[in-house]
Amino acid sequence: MGTSALIFYILSAVMILSAIAAVTARRILRAAVYLLFALGGTAAIYFMVDYYFLAAVQLIVYAGGIVVLIIFSILLTTHINEKLELPRWSKISATFSLTAVGFAITTYVLTAQSFTTGTGTFADATVGLIGERMLAYGEGGYVLPFEVISILLLAALVGAIVIAKRNPPAS
């Protein structure tokens, strides 16, 4: 086993464990922190497959943005020391068996599939290349989704503000 393989397995273990912790921790704030670890681990994997830009985005937007958003909302809606109730045993067991079956099937299918390893040469995902592709409008160009997602972000922004902003109550 090579070094990078070893790092991958360790990272995977950390990611999986923190993911499990994130969905079971009884203190919500801790759950958010575990989520941060899981997302950070993912970013590390992106690094390992040479997707540096994606890794950076993962850290900035996901870990930096979403997790902070989540932490804010937790602070706004719960007490720091509040412990979540444990879900009912029936719920846990039913859900556990369902997700376990789901995991078993998908893993079975994914491992049974014989993938033909890629033939093309790796297009080094440098920032420059990404930038060019983002603004290209031919085949393989992503300018259209790039523009459309700006509408989505704007709409989300407007939506979030207009809901969260408390108007003076109707007289």
Partner: protein, 105 residues
């Protein structure tokens, strides 16, 4: 890394993360923690895209772009979701999912 770790291992990790996320979504009582479950699921999807991209179709990096966009959309979705949570919290002083059941049958 790609010459040392088989693709199926990466995919297994992502599947596991996906279903852990689903488990969280299905069992957690607090709405925010349910959202955490969704984020885990989306993250697993991203790993899938990246892994397929890097292992099988390295020349196109389409999966890479898809992952980028998923991150952005996840952020937007989370923002709106949290705005609604806060609004609910102001109305009923709770964000327990089991209390969000005024409408049924």
């Amino acid at each position: 890394m790609i010459d040392q770790v088989p693709l199926s291992h990466v995919l297994s990790v992502s599947s596991l993360m996906f279903f852990i996320g689903a488990y969280g979504f299905l069992t957690r009582k607090n709405l925010v923690t349910m959202l955490i479950g969704v984020e885990l699921m989306l993250n697993a999807v991203n790993i899938n895209f990246v892994a397929f991209d890097r292992y099988l179709y390295p020349s196109g990096i389409n999966g890479h772009f898809f992952a980028l966009f998923i991150i952005a959309i996840a952020a937007a979705e989370a923002a709106v979701a949290i705005a609604i949570f806060i609004n609910l919290y102001r109305n009923i002083r709770s964000i327990d999912v089991e209390e969000v059941d005024k409408m049924k049958y």
